[in-house]
């Protein structure tokens, strides 16, 4: 798939086939993730790739109720960051930035492979850390289900559409300036 097609066709998928995701594909996606650039090449990103049904069911319990649908997905990638492995220039936490770039590589590569993803951040971080044995010094910054999408829309997806709004974007003129603000 062409780069722009991946960028433009990526969307939040909240309904998946039962078909498992091949371990080699998950591996390829993680390899794409770590090609991202990072502050001083410190690579703060850390990942937990989960395919175990019981763990996924327990992970679903750590989410806000509206994201409970992830209980049935075939795989989840949990994205973590080690805050000390990045920069804090101008007081900004660039570990969020670096981890985001890695995850977006993964998400676009998944789109390219016909796999669905959905950025999720509304979970209880302490519960996720306890469940997965994530060390105290590591932040859980995001996660995504991973699987082959179906067309059928779940109740969760309909609700989320209502809550999070459509895929519409503000027009460029509203967010971009030329030469100065």
């Amino acid at each position: 798939m062409q780069t722009l097609e991946a960028i433009n066709s990526r969307k939040s998928i909240r309904r998946y086939l039962d078909t498992p995701v091949e371990k080699e594909k998950i591996q390829e996606l993680l390899e794409a993730a770590i090609r991202a650039p990072s502050a001083m090449n410190k690579q703060c990103w850390r990942f937990v790739a989960i395919t175990d049904k019981e763990t996924i069911a327990n992970l679903a319990k750590c989410q806000v109720v509206i994201n409970g649908w992830i209980k049935d997905v075939p795989a989840v990638i949990v994205v973590c960051a080690d805050p000390k492995d990045s920069s804090d220039h101008n007081g900004l936490p660039y570990y969020m930035w670096d981890a985001a770039l890695a995850m977006h590589n993964l998400v676009l590569a998944a789109t390219d492979m016909g796999l669905g993803t959905c950025y999720l951040a509304a979970y209880k971080e302490d519960k996720v850390k306890e469940l997965l044995g994530i060390p105290d010094n590591i932040r859980v910054v995001c996660m995504t289900p991973l699987g082959y999408p179906t067309e059928k829309r779940s109740v969760g997806e309909k609700l989320m559409k209502a809550v999070a709004g459509s895929s519409k974007r503000k027009p460029l003129e509203e967010v971009a300036h030329w030469e100065r603000w």
Copy 2:
């Protein structure tokens, strides 16, 4: 260009031809940027696209000395964020995340078009805001030069290679876990 090729071939470019970047291409890149997903679709990202030579020369003066080479680049995209237009789940500033996704779309789309980019965050934010008239409530979270790359390496690039290390990545086994940490 295929998505994975863009992901794998993207690298930090610190030396550019004098050739101007077409305004339509910058526009296309910004359109790719705003296709990124964001917390509750709030789209906190804001951009300033600069091609004016004098502004770019002044912008170079806001950088740490080692990034002064941007004085000669044909264009710069300054990426900003409105922190109130995002989420702070688990106390994390997702405006950094959302803006990073948008910028990575732009960077990968630029790679696809044969344009070079380089993530830069080591600038004096207050000076950049003053120069570009960026409002108080907006954060300047990153910027990139934009232009047609040359092979020739600048002194800055050689220095940066020495400081920021190579494009080598930690092996996947070191940053990724299966099923649990």
